[in-house]
C-alpha cells in the first residue's frame, strides 16, 4: 500500500521529472514506538531547553533577538550555518538517492554545495558590512525603504513558507516513522519546541540548537561512514565492487538476464536518468547555486558575527562542513547498498525497504551500530528538523517585525522593546501557521517545495540583493520590478512544470505548459533583465537619489567603515 508510495517517491527523486523535486521525505508508515530513540531525543530537548533558558537571560533587545548581539564567532557561525542548511531531507533523501542510483545521488548533492563560494565571493562580507538584522537592510540600503522592504518581506515569507511546509510535513512523516508517534502529535511537538526556542531564546538559542545539531549529525554520519569504510579495508574500490555485485544480484533475482543484470549493476557507477535534458539540468543547477545565496534564514546568519572577517571565516567553515557531509552521505548510500539491501531484516516481502525508501541511512545505522545507535540517529534526524525550522521561523519573524513593522509602518522610529514584542507575536503566529499547514499538507506530494523555495530565492531575493550591492545604476523601481517579476515567474513556471502540474495536481502526462524541471534559468534571466532595463529607463527624482547613494554604500560595503558594530553585552 503506502510502502509502495515511498519506493516510488524515492525512485521519482531520480526520474527525469523529479529534477525539480527536492529531497523530500515522502509518505511514511507509523512504526512501533521506539523508546530508545524517544529517550535520546528527550535528552536533546532537555539540554536545548536549558540553553534556551540561558539564552533568554541574554535576549533583552531586538539586536539580541535577531543576531545574538553580533557576538557569535566565525567558527561557531560556520557550524550554525551548516546546521541551518543540512536538513533531515538532505541527510535521508540524498543517502537514499545514492542507494537507489549511486552516482546520480552525488550529482544531486553537489548542486547544494556549489552556491557557497558564490555567497563567499560576492555577498558574505558585503552583507556584514551593510546590514544589521535582515537581508532587506542591505537590499534597501540606498533605496526608498517602503517598496523594497515590502518586496523583501514578501520574498522572505514566501521562501520561508514553502521551506517550512516541507520541513513540517517531513518532520511529521519522519517522527511517525522513527518514533512511532502520531503524525499530528509529531507536528505539534516540532511547532511547540521551535516556538519555545525562538520566542524565549531568539537567535542565541537558535544558533546553539543549530550548532549542537550540526555536531551530532556530522558525528553520527562520520561514524556510519567510518564503519562502512572500515568494513571494506578503507578501499573505495572494494565498496563500489560490492555495491555493483549487490545491484547485479538483485537484478538477476528480479528475473533479468545476466547481461542486463550486469549493466544494471554497473549503472550505479555512472550518470543515469537524473540529467536528461541539459536545459533542465542547468536551470536546476542555477536554482540551487544562486538560491543558496538568496535564502533569508541563511543570509540572516551573517549578521550574528562581529565583522566581515568573521563572516568570511564562517562561510568557509560552513562550506567545509557541508562538503564533508555530502561526501559522508555518499558513502552512507553505498554502505546501504552493501549492508541494508542484502539484509532481509530491513526488507519487506517484495524486497523494498521497511518504512520506505528514505530509511536507507536509518537502517544502515542499525546495521553498523545496533539499536542504541539507531535510536541516536533517529533522535539526530528529529533534532535536525527542529534546528532548521527554528532558523526559518526567526527569519520570517524578523521580516515582519523589522522590515514591515519597524521600517515600513513605524518609519524606523519603533523602540527596540516594541520591535521585540512584534517579533515574538509573529513567532507565535508563524508557529501556529506552520503546525496548521503541516497538518493540512500531510497527504500532499510536497516534493517540489524545497526546490521551489530555492528557485524563488534565486529569482527574487538574489537578483535584487546582488544588483543593489554591486550595480551603481540600480534604482528602487528597477529592483522592485525585477524582484517581483522573478518572484511571480518562478512560482508560476513551477506550477506549470511537470512536477507540479502533472505529478501533484494530477493533470494528464505531457500537459504541462512549462516543459523543464526548474524555472530558475528563465525566471532569473527575467528578473535581471527587468532590473537592468527598468533602472536604465528610470528618470525619476528618486532614481537620481538612488544612484547618488551608491558611492557611500560601496565604500562601506568594501571597508566596513561605519558598519554596525557588535552590541556590547
Amino acid at each position: 500500500m503506502r510502502t509502495k508510495l515511498f519506493l516510488s517517491a524515492a525512485l521519482a527523486l531520480l526520474a527525469s521529472s523529479a529534477l525539480a523535486a527536492g529531497a523530500d521525505l515522502g509518505q511514511a508508515v507509523k512504526q512501533a514506538t521506539n523508546w530508545t530513540a524517544i529517550s535520546m531525543f528527550a535528552v536533546f530537548v532537555v539540554a536545548t531547553l536549558f540553553i534556551t533558558k540561558w539564552a533568554a537571560s541574554r535576549t533583552k533587545s531586538a539586536a539580541d533577538f535577531y543576531t545574538a548581539g553580533g557576538g557569535i564567532t566565525g567558527f561557531q557561525n560556520g557550524l550554525a550555518i551548516a546546521g541551518d542548511y543540512m536538513s533531515a531531507a538532505s541527510f535521508l533523501g540524498i543517502s537514499a538517492a545514492v542507494m537507489v542510483s549511486g552516482f546520480d545521488g552525488l550529482i544531486y548533492s553537489i548542486g547544494f554545495l556549489v552556491g557557497w563560494p558564490v555567497v563567499t565571493f560576492l555577498l558574505a562580507e558585503r552583507l556584514r558590512n551593510l546590514g544589521k538584522f535582515t537581508f532587506a537592510d542591505v537590499a534597501a540600503f540606498r533605496f526608498r525603504q517602503t517598496p523594497i522592504r515590502l518586496f523583501a518581506a514578501a520574498g522572505t515569507l514566501v521562501v520561508v513558507a514553502f521551506y517550512l511546509i516541507a520541513q513540517m510535513v517531513g518532520a511529521g512523516q519522519l517522527i511517525k516513522l522513527l518514533f512511532g508517534l502520531d503524525y499530528e502529535l509529531a507536528v505539534v511537538i516540532v511547532g511547540a519546541l521551535m516556538m519555545v526556542y525562538v520566542l524565549f531564546g531568539g537567535m542565541t538559542a537558535t544558533t546553539w540548537v543549530q550548532i549542537i545539531k550540526a555536531v551530532l549529525l556530522l558525528g553520527g554520519a562520520s561514524f556510519m561512514a567510518l564503519m562502512v569504510l572500515w568494513h571494506f579495508g578503507f578501499s573505495p574500490e572494494a565498496m563500489f565492487a560490492k555495491a555493483v555485485d549487490v545491484k547485479t544480484q538483485l537484478a538477476i533475482d528480479a528475473g533479468k538476464s545476466a547481461i542486463d543484470a550486469s549493466a544494471i549493476g554497473l549503472s550505479i557507477m555512472g550518470p543515469g536518468g537524473f540529467v536528461k535534458d541539459p536545459i533542465s539540468a542547468i536551470s536546476f543547477g542555477m536554482a540551487l547555486m544562486f538560491g543558496t545565496a538568496g535564502l533569508p534564514h541563511i543570509l540572516m546568519r551573517f549578521f550574528t558575527v562581529p565583522n566581515a572577517r568573521e563572516a568570511r571565516k564562517s562561510v568557509l567553515w560552513a562550506t567545509t562542513w557541508i562538503g564533508y557531509f555530502y561526501i559522508l552521505t555518499f558513502i552512507i548510500g553505498f554502505g546501504a547498498i552493501a549492508f541494508v539491501l542484502t539484509n532481509p531484516q530491513f526488507l519487506d516481502a517484495k524486497g523494498a525497504l521497511l518504512g520506505g525508501g528514505n530509511m536507507a541511512a536509518i537502517h544502515l545505522a542499525s546495521a553498523v551500530g545496533g539499536n542504541v545507535f539507531l535510536g541516536f540517529i533517529s533522535a539526530v534526524a528529529f533534532a535536525t528538523i527542529l534546528a532548521v525550522v527554528a532558523g526559518l521561523t526567526l527569519s520570517g519573524a524578523s521580516a515582519v517585525s523589522h522590515d514591515i513593522y519597524a521600517t515600513v509602518i513605524k518609519k524606523g522610529q519603533a523602540s527596540s522593546a516594541a520591535e521585540l514584542r512584534v517579533s515574538k507575536l509573529t513567532t507565535l503566529a508563524l508557529g501556529l501557521i506552520a503546525v496548521l499547514l503541516g497538518i493540512a499538507f500531510e497527504k500532499q506530494n510536497i516534493a517540489f517545495m524545497v526546490s521551489l523555495a530555492f528557485a524563488i530565492a534565486a529569482s527574487a531575493n538574489f537578483p535584487v540583493l546582488v544588483m543593489s550591492v554591486l550595480w551603481k545604476d540600480c534604482t528602487t523601481r528597477g529592483a522592485v520590478a525585477g524582484g517581483v517579476l522573478g518572484l511571480v515567474s518562478s512560482v508560476v513556471l513551477t506550477v506549470a512544470s511537470p512536477a507540479v502540474w502533472e505529478a501533484t495536481l494530477g493533470h494528464a502526462k505531457g500537459s504541462a505548459l512549462f516543459p523543464y524541471a526548474s524555472p530558475a534559468l528563465f525566471s532569473m534571466a527575467m528578473a535581471f533583465t527587468t532590473i537592468v532595463v527598468v533602472s536604465l529607463l528610470d528618470k525619476s527624482r528618486r532614481a537620481a537619489i538612488d544612484r547618488a547613494g551608491f558611492l557611500a554604500q560601496q565604500v562601506r560595503s568594501e571597508t566596513g567603515i561605519g558598519a554596525a558594530m557588535a552590541a556590547a553585552h
Binding site: 550529482i107 556549489v114 560576492l122 550518470p271 542547468i282 571597508t559
Partner: protein, 102 residues
C-alpha cells in the same frame, strides 16, 4: 557616514587598490566555480559514457573521483578567497581606516 568622508575614502589609493583587487579576485573565482560546476553538469548531460568509463581493472569509474573533485574544489576555492581576504584585504582595510579616521 558623512558624504565628505565617503568621497575622501573613495579617492584614497588604498581604497582603490582594495576595491580593484577584491573585485578581480571575486569575479575570477566566481567564473572558475561556474565553469567547474556547469562543466561537470554539461559533461553529465552530453558525455555519460566518458563519466562511466572505468579506471583500471576495477569497477571505479572516472565520474567518481571527478564528482568528489568538484566537492573538494568548491571547498578549496572558498578557502583560497578567505585566506587572501583575511591576510591582504583586511590589512589594507585596516590601514585605510587608520589613515582616514585619524
Amino acid at each position: 557616514m558623512d558624504p565628505t568622508l565617503a568621497q575622501r575614502i573613495a579617492q584614497h589609493p588604498k581604497y582603490l587598490a582594495l576595491k580593484a583587487r577584491r573585485s578581480r579576485l571575486g569575479w575570477w573565482l566566481t567564473a572558475a566555480m561556474l565553469a567547474v560546476y556547469y562543466g561537470f553538469i554539461l559533461l553529465v548531460a552530453f558525455d555519460k559514457p566518458l563519466l562511466a568509463s572505468r579506471l583500471g581493472d576495477g569497477v571505479t569509474t572516472l565520474g567518481m573521483p571527478l564528482g568528489l573533485a568538484v566537492i573538494v574544489f568548491t571547498v578549496a576555492i572558498t578557502g583560497l578567497y578567505v585566506r587572501r581576504a583575511n591576510r591582504e584585504f583586511d590589512r589594507l582595510a585596516d590601514q585605510l581606516r587608520a589613515e582616514v579616521t585619524r
